[in-house]
Structure formats: C-alpha cells, structure tokens
Subunit: 301 residues, 2 copies
C-alpha cells in the first residue's frame, strides 16, 4: 500500500492507495502550526494494519534533498529537513517533491497525460509553476528545482515579481497578475463593470471573468492580454522542449473558454519550431484532486 | 569502428573513430551541390577494410525521423529523407541529428561536460542554438526539435527574427544581432571607432570587439547589451532546467572576456531559483572540432 500526503498552506490531505493507484481512503484537515505532528498522526492512522511500501509528499515550494529550502505558504517548514524528520516519526521510503512536480505526475498517471511520455505541465493560479515529464518520468533537475517556468522572464521591463526578477511569466500570466492589471485598468477607466462587481473593491481574476461574461470590453481586453502572456510562455516551452503536448492546470483554468480562447488566439501568432508548427494543449483532468493524486503518484511504483 | 560526418553549409568533415572515440583518420572537403554523393564517397573511403558499427551525421537544421525538414544552409538537402538515402548508399546504423544537439554530445564525451550528467549547451554564433543533456543522454524532444533556445522570445517587441517571431534570443544575443545593433549605433553616433575599423562598412561582431579593445565606449555598451540578453536567456534556462552547469560554445565565445564578462555581470542581476542561486558557466572545450566530435559522439556506444 502507498500513502500520499498533499501539504498545502491551508489544508493537508492524506490518501491511502493500492499499487494501481486507486485511492481507498482519504482525509483532509486544516494545516496546523505543528505540521510534522499532524503528518505523523495521519501516517500512523493510514498505516495501521497495513504494509506501507512508499510515502509521497507534495509541498508548495522548493526542496533540496528532502530539505524545505523555500516554503512561503507553509513557513513553519522552512529550513526543516523533512526527510530526516519524517523518518524519525515513521521510518519508510519517502519521495518528497514540489507540488507542481507532483501535479505533473498526477496528470501522467491519472489525467490528461496518461497517453503521453513527453509533456510539460503548467499550472496557472495565484502563481505559475510547472513540471517536466521526459520519457515517462518526472525530471526535477540537478537540485530538484527544474520546472520553475513561472520565473522565466518574458518581459524584461515588466512588472516586478515576488521572486525579485521583473516580467516573470508569473507576474504577467497568473491569476494574481490578471487581478493586478484589472485593478490598474479600473483606476484608469470608469466605464468598466469590474469595479461594481468587485465586493469591497477586492478585484480578483474571477471578477474579471464575471465582467467578461457581461461583455465588458475592458475585461475582455485584460483576458486577451493575460492569454497573450501565457501563450508566449507556452511558445517558449515548445521551442525549448518539443513536447508531445502541453497540459495546463491550476485555478485560473477553471474559467474555461474565457481563459483558453485568448490563449489559443495568441498562440497562433508565435512561430513554433516543431515539425507541426503547432502544439496540442490539453486541459488538466485531475482538477481539485491534483494535490492528493500527485502525492500518491510520487509514491507509486 | 565508428564514422562521424559533420555536414555544414561550406564544408563537410568526416572522421573515423574507435569505440573509445579516438579520431584515427579525418578528411575535410568543400560542401558539393550533390551532398549525398559526397557523403557516399567519404563513407566508402573510411569504411574500406573496416567493420563500421554506427555512423553519426550532424547537420545544421531541423530533422524529423531522419528527414531534413528545415536546412537553410544546405538547401539541397531540404525535404530529403536522409536516413533512407544514406541506407541506400551504404546500409548501416545511422544517427542523424541537428548539429547543436551533436555539439552538446561532443562536450559531454570530449569537452567541458565530461564530468556532468545534466547540463545545457548553448551555442552563440551567427545564430543561437542548444542541446539538452539529461542523465547523461541527449534529450531531443518528441520530434527531435528540442533545444531551440534561440527561438525563445525574450523581448516581445524586440527586433524581428529570421524565424518569424520578434525578440527571439537569437535576434538579441547572437553575433549577427550584435553586428546589427552596432550598425544602428554607428548610424546614430559619429564618435565610435567601429565605423573606421569596419572595412567596406561591413560591421561584424569581431569589429565591435576590436573597437572595445580600443576602449571605444559605444562598443563596450553594445557588448554589455549583448551580454545582458545572453544572461537573460541563460537565467531562463536555469529556472527551467536546474542544470548542474551551462556550457557555452560557438564563434562569438572566441572573443573571450569581451563576450563573457558582460554576460557574467548581467547574470548576477537575475534571480535564479536553484538552491545556490547561481550557476556555473563553462566555456565549451571542443572549439573548432565541435562539429566532427559531435558527429562521432552521435555514433559512439
């Protein structure tokens, strides 16, 4: 049996799966200040009476050899040697990975990537992240930090990114970036319905989509711009990796055509150097289960 | 024994190597209109009295399953099914690859990459190309066109690139791009020595370096700008691949510190997300032999 643990900033989901990856049991709880104790309790519970072959753990941030080196949303884990601590709590074989990498594996084993061996997974939500599947395996780089597409620079003089660069994909194409651009547009244009739709003046990507549904021109232009930047990032990935397909997941994609149509339109304007001169874009299929399925996929044989 | 064939727009070099990759015999001739016949003669000559295990062929352009699909510098091969034609001429096991990919293998087997298993090779000369080494193997993508870093867009409103995009790395950081920027700078500034150094008004990257050696301010600024764009491209590669090292080769790098120092200076200004937050840049070691060594490396066991 295999355990998957999806550790997020707000909640932790644990799952027990068989060797084929079928989830037999699952449990979600709010992330506690003492995450390690919480994980320990979940592992104890799920392993009771079972022989556990491997445990996969997905976390939002960067890891090196099992040490959390950059974990802004679970700050209590920053600097913690997770691999060592988890082995103290429950000695087992652990695979600890960045959650975007785990999500790529979730799509490979359970989702849109199950018929492919070489693809790039991109997650677009509050941030932009990714995972690289090469020959049916997750590629994590020399130190485990490969796939940080969100911090490739697409516009050198663009808006500042949390990472310290300017004009990163994340600062241009994420839901957060869309909301920021919308706030700036509202300040400049009185004629947009974004302002009236925003409760307490809190402008989000979802509000922009709501306004677009009402055919608000400013909202449609903002989604076009957002789609353009995401298309640019994707075009660069195609010319870099020559993947079979690109799989896009993350919260922003739940906006469906309002997200994808502008992206498809802009993608046609970039020259792709693969023989087809085009790329198949698939929507991620694991949806809200991505975290848990990814964590389980890390553990599976 | 192994044969390597480096087919270029101006010359073809063939080499015979043993299983350890030692070059025992080599020959260079001008590229003929009938390249296939020329290749045939070289293979016949090198295979006489030898048992040939494999033949590697490096070509400047894009291939799919042994078919030359985009070969601007050897136009007589465009559309030719090289794998089929070569097998008619001399039945053998062939590995046919883009020359930048072959160059990455040359560095892996003979050069700066021999102690690494995960690195990115970038060649900067008239164009910008690259090769991806993952776990000690060349990664060429789903269709053989991975590694076209030169056509990742770094400046969406930048100068047009031959490929059809605007602001590709190649259109910003190559020797050709430097020469074009220098020509524009000369037209605007009478006070640069680039103009007097350029014979017949032909401004090249080398002329810019010559002027920089005379401490010409415009030339130094141009090299800074060129280094900035190359650093930007490299920063994006680091955040994408998390490689152990980046190896840089190609004609422009023969300008040594005049090329590398501005690049190193700019690279420090980008946030790299690997644990070290920095990347080791190595100079390619195969130099003018890269083409032949790459072709041989394609064939080696």
């Amino acid at each position: 049996m295999y355990i998957g643990l999806d550790v997020g900033g707000t909640k932790i989901t644990a799952g027990l799966a068989d060797a084929r990856g079928e989830i037999l049991q699952r449990e979600t709880s709010k992330t506690a200040p003492n995450v390690l104790e919480q994980i320990s309790a979940l592992i104890q519970k799920f392993s009771a009476g079972q022989k556990i072959a491997k445990i996969g753990v997905g976390l939002p941030g960067q890891l090196k050899n099992g040490v959390a080196i950059n974990m802004p949303n679970v700050p209590q884990l920053n600097g913690v040697d997770l691999l060592a601590e988890l082995n103290k709590i429950y000695p087992a074989e652990y695979v600890i990975e960045n959650d975007a990498n785990a999500a790529a594996l979730a799509e490979l084993k359970y989702g849109a990537g199950r018929n492919y061996k070489n693809f790039i997974y991109v997650t677009i939500s509050t941030g932009v992240g990714g995972g690289i599947i090469i020959d049916g395996h997750l590629y994590t780089g020399a130190n485990g930090t490969a796939g940080e597409f969100g911090h490739t620079v697409l516009l050198p003089d663009g808006p500042p990114c949390n990472c310290g660069n300017r004009g990163c994909w994340e600062a241009l194409g994420s839901g957060t970036a869309l909301a920021k651009m919308a706030a700036a547009a509202v300040a400049e244009n009185s004629g947009t319905r974004i302002k009236e739709l925003a409760k307490d003046n809190r402008i989000t990507a979802e509000i922009v989509v709501e306004a677009a549904k009402l055919e608000d021109q400013i909202a449609l232009e903002l989604l076009d711009k957002n789609g353009y930047y995401n298309a640019l990032g994707i075009a660069n990935l195609v010319n870099t990796f020559d993947p079979e397909v690109i799989i896009i997941g993350g919260g922003v994609t739940f906006n469906g055509d309002y997200f994808f149509q502008p992206l498809f339109k802009s993608l046609k304007t970039f020259k792709l150097l693969n023989p087809e001169q085009s790329i198949k874009i698939l929507r991620a299929e694991c949806g809200k289960d991505t975290g848990l399925l990814g964590a389980v996929a890390l553990a599976l044989p």
